[in-house]
Each structure stands twice: as structure tokens, then as C-alpha cells.
Symmetry: C2
């Protein structure tokens, strides 16, 4: 069996080599030595050791730079990671190679409110299926994202508002026991930020915010290339920032939270009310198609927007406006170099983006917005699974 | 002359030794070796080199740990830094030793709106006086804080709203030329955060926010022990976060900014209106004492609060409430380990703090506030000058 558990780097230099190869692809020994500021002799022996450990391998001759031809070094083609993205309504599992390219993926619709046992059983089932399809017995590691606050060191959710039954459940250790490999758990937004950093529009950014607008709203914070989790691991919880003194009651118990006004759950609620209340013929006809007890989703609102429904367009504008106010505050506070907007509701696309940009550019300090791109994610659902694989690869490719 | 320009560390280990001695006081060679994880032989030679460079010196025998007695190492008693704190209405200069203990200090009232030439001339005059009083010909370096956004790499203010005439003025280079030593410039809030980190309540904190409520309102952000300046150097500009859709026009041109509602300038404006409008007999009598064209300040409001004036107490409560809303958002976003409230308006003390705490603890994620102290600075005016000295000492004691 080719795909077995890989070794771990034994020195800081070996760890840096692995991350460079993961993020940039094959490099020559000479380039590696130059990039990391070590001698060519040292690099030659570090690369040999990585090869012995089953983490690196040769990849043909490098382009000539004059003098003796150097050989390209690549990550071992045996290295496999798994990324598991547990969302409010879906579970997705992807198998990646060492460079976090997705080799295979499986998703199912599943309500996270069913609790940890059935959801994790399903995630394991998908994982085993994907591994079997690609002839992998044991991956190097598995990263997992869940839609709520996580005690990163403890590997478990902490009082997650939309995940009843998950509080304190040892997700990381339970999965590690079943899979027999290292597992790391983080919240879904942090994981998506890592995905954007590795494969998305944030590739060149050192300090950026990733804003997820899905069922809930959250923010991943990257400072100097590293995820910033905060003192208790709950940084980025912007869904519960107050946008108005009064307003709908939020799942957290307060009123006026951003998430209670916008995000997938609020949008579905408002769409249903508009359909039933006769304020939107487009939403009413979409609701009628679903039969008795049917419900509307963010996707239906997107469909109504595409049909030119004025009420739905106004819902998106109002929501984007409120997200914009919160982001304007965060730009003044944090002065990021880039803001990426992702998550399912973000697929409402340019009308939403235009509204967010309008407020951010008007309301933040001019110095902070002079060079600040606010862009939509281009990764779709991949941000979560690729980011989860990035999370565990960071740990596997870390210095001892 | 004993006090001349000190050398610079030549290795990363030497730099770390200097910062440890600055922050913790004399340590034995053995303790230094253990703390920095280098051999005792290496440490002995690094310390010798620091002594030759005039940066360190012996400080008597260390307490016995069994075996041969070790000698304490201290920073050279010749090292001198200068911290210059330029505020909206004052200029303060302090001379410190290598451990940032203030040896002498001078302050004058001066309006920053007079522009850079007269203000910097005054700052230089105070600096020369303090240096002469302590027999110092040339300090190791000078740190400077100004009340506005700063291009840290360029060493100049950038479009500072309350500093007309200072935009793009090369403050750092002008002072370095006059003083013949290294100079660094940053905004006053960042500098005060460094002061709190070195000598104040934030001494043990790795991730904290320092909130200054003075003429303006701003925030210093420390991430993993390092000041976070943001991509354009303007992180922490929380005075211009919107707290209400409408409200008084701010110096920045927008409406509804926190700073336009609260902070020294807003408080003085509201106090004057209340005194003239007959809403506060206490403020009216304080105003009468100042004669024709007299103005009220934050200090007068503090006096009125002490006299039990209900209108003044309400002003503080309203202001504290608005500051609390903004900080609650930042706690949800940033999950800091500590919030320190400083600046002149913060001297209104516990009524203000109580209001801020009330909102923060009620409105932020419980996980983020479980262990979150919100405290008043105990450094008073020293935070600015000590922090400015800390700023330049960080650069002088940095690895080459």
C-alpha cells in the first residue's frame, strides 16, 4: 500500500521546506537553500532526511541556472490529508495531496442540530468512502471545521449557539481514535480563512479578514500570515456585534445582533414572512412550489433576486448595509490589507458586495481604505475542506 | 562625560539579553543562559561583548543557587532614553535610564494646532533642558508620540484630523538631525500601549487593548506581545467608529463617530452648552469663575461630577455607554485578554469604568468575557513618555 502515515519533520528547516513545497510546488535544492538562508550542504542533507522520512521526493531536473543542473524537490506523492467541513446544514469531506489539491470529495445535507454522534458517524462514513475510492489506508492527518466556537487546545466546541448537544463533546479525540491519525478541530470560519490563504484570493495577503456569511456570520483573522484565535479562541465572533439597539432576538439571547438581521437563517425567516404577508409575489410563488409546510432558503432569495423581485433585492441591500457598518468599524480598528467575503449567502454576489463596499469605503478612515480590496471568495464550498486540510498540514509540517 | 551614545547589539542573543534586563532587571549569567536556552559559555561571551559595547555591566554577586556564585548582569548605568509625548494640548519630555525608569520630566501646555515648527522647537527645548539637568550629552535614542495617524516607516503624520499643518511633516528626521541620535515616531495611543506593557497593568498580558480617551479616542493593539499597527499603520482608529446613524459632525467629516459624542473635545463642548443653557448649575458656576470667553474642559466636568451634579454624571454615563458598545464589538472580534482604559478623560474614574464594564460584559460573547479584566490605567501621564522611551529602546535593543 503506497499511502501510509508519513513521518514528521525533525528540524525547523525541514518544516520550512515542507511548507514551501506545499505552498509553492517543486523547488530545486539551490532555491530552497537560498530561500531559507541555509548552506547548500545543509539543505542537501535536510532534503535527504525528508526523503528517508517519506515526506519529500525528487521531481526531475530543475531549469538550468548555469553551472551544474540542480534537481527539483517535491512533496512525497504519498502524502494525503483529509479536510472535513461540518456546516449548519451540510457535511463535506475532501481528500487532498500534500499540496492540498483536492483529489476527491463527498458531501451530504445534514442538520448539525442532530447532535455529535450521528453527524460524526456520517462524517466518518464519508471519510472512509473517499479514502477507499483513492486507495488510501491512513491519511497523514485530518482537519475538521465546525460552525461554532471551539476550544482549540481542548479540541471541542464551547457553548456553540447553533449546535445543541455539541458543547464540550471531544470531537477531535473521538475522530482521532476512529481514524488512527492526528486530527485538529477549529471553527469553520478560521478553517475557511486558511483555505483562502492557501488556494484563494488571499494567497498574497499577510493581514486579512475572511468574512463568512452563511447560516451564521463570522470572521477569520490572519495577522502576519498566522491565524489569530484570541485569548480564549473565540476571536472573529462578529455575528453577535450589535448593529441596532433593538431588533429580532438572536440565538445568543441578545437583540440587535448582526446575525439576527442577516445571514442565512434570518434571510430564510424574512423571506417566509414576506411570502406569507403578500409583500413578494416572487417569494410567494417559490414557496407555493414547496407544498404545505415548505420553507424558503437563502437560495430562494437569490432566485427571487435573479427574477428582479424588488422586495428580495431590498433585503439583500439592507443586509449588505448592516454587514458594511460592522466591517467599517473593523477596518478602522484592524486596518487589514484585504477583506474576503465568503459563505453561501455571499453567493448573492455583486448586489451584496456593492452595498458592503459602499459603506466600508464611505465610513472607514481614508488611510485604511486607500489600498483595501473587498472581494468575493472564488472558492465556493472548497474553502472549508481545503482549509481543514491546511489546518492539519500546518501541524504535521510543523517544527518538532 | 559618562553618558554618551551606546553601541548596538551585534547578535540576536545580545538583543534578547538587553530586553530581558530592561524588562526584569539584573539577572545572573546562569539565569540568562537558562531563560534564552543557550549554553553558559555562549552567554558568558555574549555578556562580555555587551560590556565592551557599553550596553551592560556587572551588578554584584547573584543569590547562591549552590555551586559557584554567579555575577548579576545589569544594563549599563550609562544608557539613557528620551520619551517625548506630544498631546493635543501638552508637550511632555522624560529622561529615562535603560530600564525606562523616569529620571527627570518636563511638561508645558501647548496647542498642537500651532503646527510642527513651534511645537517641535518647544519639545527640543524641553529635551535639551532635561538632558542638561542630568548631565547627558547625547541619549541612546528618542521616542516620540503624536496625537494622530502616523506613517511609521516614513516617520511622519498622515492626514491627522486634529493636527493641522502636520500632514507629511518629517518629524522623525527633523528631530534626529537636531538631536544627533536615532528617533522613532508613532501615534500617541500606540506609544501609551507600550508604556502600559512595560510599566503598567498590562505587564503580564500578551494580547491586550489599550483604549485612550483624551481629546480624541484611540486604541493600541498588542498581539502576542507585539504592537499591531495594521497594513497602513492606522490600526486602532476607533474614535471614528459609528455609534449612531446621526449625531454631531466629527472633525473627520462624518457624523455619528464615537469621538464626536465623547472624548475631551465633545465633553468640553457639551459642558459649555449645558452651562449656558441652564441645564447644570454646577457647570454654570465653574464657567462663571473663568470670566468672559471662558471655556470648560473635561477636568471641569470631573469637578462637577465630584460636586454631585446630575447633568455631568449623566454625560459620563452616556459617554461610557457609547464607549462600551464599541468595546463590546471589539471584544467579540478580537477576544483580548485585557482592556486598559487610559487618557485624561479616563480620570473620571469609576463611574465611567462601571458604565463601560456594564455594556461590555452584557454584550460580548460570554466565552470572551469570562476572564476579561477591564481596568483603568494607573500610569497617568507617564504612559506616554515611558511608552515613547520603550518605542526607541525596542529599536536600539533589536537584533541587527
Amino acid at each position: 500500500m503506497a499511502h501510509t502515515l508519513a513521518g514528521r519533520p525533525e528540524t525547523a528547516t525541514q518544516a520550512k521546506v515542507l511548507k514551501l513545497l506545499r505552498d509553492e510546488g517543486p523547488l530545486s535544492r539551490v532555491e530552497l537553500a537560498d530561500r531559507l538562508g541555509v548552506s547548500r550542504t545543509t539543505m542537501a542533507s535536510e532534503v535527504s532526511r525528508l526523503t528517508e522520512l517519506g515526506l519529500a521526493e525528487g521531481a526531475g531536473p530543475a531549469a538550468s541556472r548555469g553551472g551544474r543542473r540542480s534537481t527539483l524537490v517535491d512533496l512525497s506523492s504519498d502524502v494525503r490529508f483529509v479536510g472535513v467541513a461540518i456546516g449548519a446544514t451540510t457535511v463535506s469531506v475532501a481528500l487532498t495531496d500534500g499540496r492540498l489539491t483536492v483529489l476527491g470529495q463527498r458531501s451530504v445535507d445534514m442538520d448539525v442540530r442532530l447532535g455529535p454522534e450521528p453527524v460524526l458517524a456520517r462524517a466518518l462514513e464519508l471519510t472512509h468512502k473517499v479514502l477507499a475510492e483513492h486507495g488510501v489506508t491512513r491519511p497523514a492527518g485530518v482537519g475538521v471545521g465546525v460552525p461554532g466556537p471551539v476550544d482549540f487546545h481542548g479540541g471541542m466546541p464551547v457553548s456553540p449557539p447553533i449546535m445543541p448537544g455539541w458543547d464540550g463533546y471531544p470531537v477531535r479525540d473521538a475522530l482521532a481514535r476512529e481514524l488512527g491519525c492526528p486530527v485538529l478541530l477549529d471553527n469553520d470560519v478560521n478553517v475557511m480563512a486558511l483555505g483562502e490563504q492557501h488556494s484563494g484570493v488571499a494567497k498574497a495577503a499577510r493581514d486579512f479578514l475572511f468574512v463568512k456569511i452563511g447560516t451564521g456570520i463570522g470572521c477569520g483573522i490572519v495577522v502576519d500570515g498566522q491565524l489569530y484565535r484570541g485569548v480564549d479562541g473565540c476571536a472573529g465572533d462578529i455575528g453577535h456585534i450589535r448593529v441596532e439597539e433593538f431588533g429580532p432576538t438572536c440565538a445568543c439571547g441578545n437583540t440587535g445582533c448582526l446575525e439576527a438581521f442577516f445571514g442565512g437563517a434570518a434571510l430564510a425567516r424574512d423571506a417566509l414572512a414576506a411570502a406569507r404577508g403578500g409583500r413578494s409575489p416572487a417569494l410567494a410563488s417559490l414557496l407555493a412550489e414547496k407544498g404545505e409546510n415548505g420553507e424558503l432558503t437563502g437560495a430562494d432569495v437569490a432566485a427571487a433576486v435573479a427574477m428582479g423581485d424588488p422586495y428580495s433585492v431590498q433585503m439583500i441591500r439592507d443586509g449588505g448595509h448592516r454587514v458594511g457598518w460592522v466591517l467599517a468599524s473593523l477596518v478602522s480598528f484592524f486596518n487589514p490589507g484585504l477583506i474576503v467575503i465568503g459563505g453561501r449567502v455571499a453567493r448573492l454576489g455583486h448586489p451584496l458586495l456593492a452595498e458592503i463596499r459602499g459603506v466600508v469605503y464611505r465610513r472607514s478612515l481614508p488611510l485604511a481604505t486607500g489600498n483595501l480590496p473587498v472581494v468575493l471568495s472564488e472558492m465556493g464550498d472548497d474553502a472549508g475542506v481545503v482549509g481543514a486540510a491546511a489546518l492539519i498540514s500546518d501541524a504535521i509540517f510543523a517544527a518538532p
